[in-house]
Symmetry: C2
Subunit: 344 residues, 2 copies
């Protein structure tokens, strides 16, 4: 174990101890003994000593030499958001399965920190980059379009830029949810949005509008509000609409945090779900079934997004010239519970 500086086990040390060259030791420990027809005894003695000394090769040195660090970088806007935590879980598990390490950066929902993170990661010699972009600007990503550097986006992508991505089928998710509300008699559906101009938000708005259109329900911009995925936005926007006495019978919340904020506003206004108002929220979480009432949700396969993204990334690392599917959309699933009332 390399805990102690002066006791670090290196090829050199093993070689010296056995009276042979580092080269031979390296070859044996990399499984090239046969190829170089190294004598069985030498091989055995090296393997034995390496095991005794618990030799672990320095990936630093190896990375420097081979330009191969078996490390990928992961940039996440906020690891304490359960949706992203779940993506990170998929990423670390799948990376580890492929013997890759993950360096994690938290961009704190801030493009500048995102840019800085990229620099830090590159200086650490990552072989590929997995990025959940903050999402509004992509100027700093343009250079990757023509570059051979392996990169995959997750959750959010940019239509104006061709970089592979893995995301949920947000269009279908929002459309299905809206459709479900319509089938239950709702026509005035508050659309509680997250950060506008991000791909998930735009796709969800399209899905929402498509469902309305399919039932010839006119779009009412007055009840399409919000511009951030957080709880505060859900609270203030809902409260605002309530105070304005806007006319709506259901809320479609674009994130679990927006939903919680809306819930807070409703409870302050003494309104009950689903009696006074119906609701559907994006993101399924274990607690959703225990809310008051159990919440109907649009579940995303968040861990799978992370796994799939790693797989794409490793493919690109292994063969940078093979073309990668530009975008992968994972299905969403409407989980019906009790937060939607059937209007007669």
């Amino acid at each position: 174990m390399s805990m102690d500086v002066n006791s670090r086990v290196t090829l050199k040390r093993i070689g010296k101890q056995l009276g042979i060259s580092v080269t031979t030791v390296s070859r044996i420990l990399n499984g090239h003994a046969r190829r170089y027809r190294i004598s069985k005894e030498t091989e055995k003695s090296v393997v034995k000593l390496a095991a005794e000394l618990k030799f672990v090769p320095s990936r630093l040195a190896r990375g420097l030499r081979l330009n191969k660090t078996t490390t990928i970088g992961l940039v996440i806007p906020d690891i304490s958001n359960p949706f992203f935590a779940s993506i990170a879980n998929g990423v670390t598990v799948e990376a580890h399965r492929n013997n890759y390490g993950v360096i994690l950066c938290d961009s704190q929902d801030n493009v500048d920190m995102e840019i800085e993170s990229l620099e830090v990661l590159f200086s650490r010699g990552i072989e590929g980059l997995l990025l959940c972009p903050v999402g509004q600007s992509c100027e700093h990503l343009k250079k990757f379009e023509r570059s051979r550097f392996p990169i995959v986006l997750a959750d959010r992508y940019f239509p104006q830029i061709t970089i592979p991505y893995v995301a949920s089928d947000n269009f279908a998710g929002a459309r299905d949810a809206t459709q479900y509300l319509i089938e239950n008699g709702h026509r005035q559906i508050m659309c509680l949005q997250g950060l506008r101009n991000t791909s998930p938000n735009k796709d969800r708005v399209r899905g929402y509008e498509a469902a309305l259109a399919a039932h010839s329900i006119p779009v009412n911009r007055d009840i399409m509000v919000g511009n951030s995925f957080n709880e505060q936005c859900g609270y203030s926007e809902t409260r605002q609409l309530l105070e304005n006495k806007q006319n709506f019978t259901a809320i479609l919340a674009f994130s679990n945090l927006l939903m919680l904020g809306a819930l807070r506003a409703l409870s302050e206004a003494k309104l009950r779900i689903p009696d006074n108002l119906s609701m559907i929220s994006f993101d399924d979480q274990p607690y959703m079934a225990h809310l008051s009432p159990p919440m109907t949700t649009i579940a995303q396969e968040s861990s799978e997004i992370g796994q799939k993204a790693v797989r794409l990334l490793l493919e690109r690392i292994q063969s940078p010239d093979k073309s990668t599917p530009e975008g992968v959309l994972l299905p969403t699933r409407l989980i019906v519970r009790e937060s939607v009332k059937h209007l007669n």
Copy 2:
């Protein structure tokens, strides 16, 4: 930017382009121009070119040379658990603030994976280790006791081993919660435990028993159940007690997941909180206020645990010989909502 292998900007390249040695370039870019009295012009030209070329030093090479990678390793049992995600958030943010990078490993609640993670992290040349141990065995950590290698545990620690740690004051948390239940007239309190033999669990049991003792309430082992922090355990143990018609008026759940499982069992049994049964849960989360009913909780400062642990770790990295406080306990806070009924 080091995206392109053949275009990687190095000290050598800058030196060659300017007709000076790498040494000089290195000194200037490390801010040692003054110390070596390097001429203003040389300095200016180097700084200018480095900026133009967007030079970013290879931390790999630097790490190899200096034995200093400005990287710490973080091992977490399950990043998709919001409690650990929150710790990870504190860790990444605080590490970044100190210009350190974080390599993340998910041990998946498995000691063998934890051990493997350590090896991987060491091979990557981490300067220090931040470990949320799975918690039951610590054989593999013994070697750190006498070692100078910087390590800090978070959340769980081992009394039989002297390694610095940061955790919640779980004893006080459980004691306060139990006390609150007792004050509300409860004497038969189901103690829904997580993994036995882990420090958080043991400390919470002690707190629970201390509160009972303080009110001369005998301990009833029949209603002290559970052996895992997950949802399934909460469900099956609660269900079991219910079926056995055990006599209890309140539940103290040792994690948010246990609480959710208990909730599921109660709802199947058509029991309502707090009318039929009272409940308090460890871990506060944003959704807790919106459960049915709003849940009284014991909040932990999870993000602060991560931050504090990083600070301790960096201290140890900077001065390995200065003695570190062996254990730091962060306060918990009882957040009273509506899940506890006052028995007359």
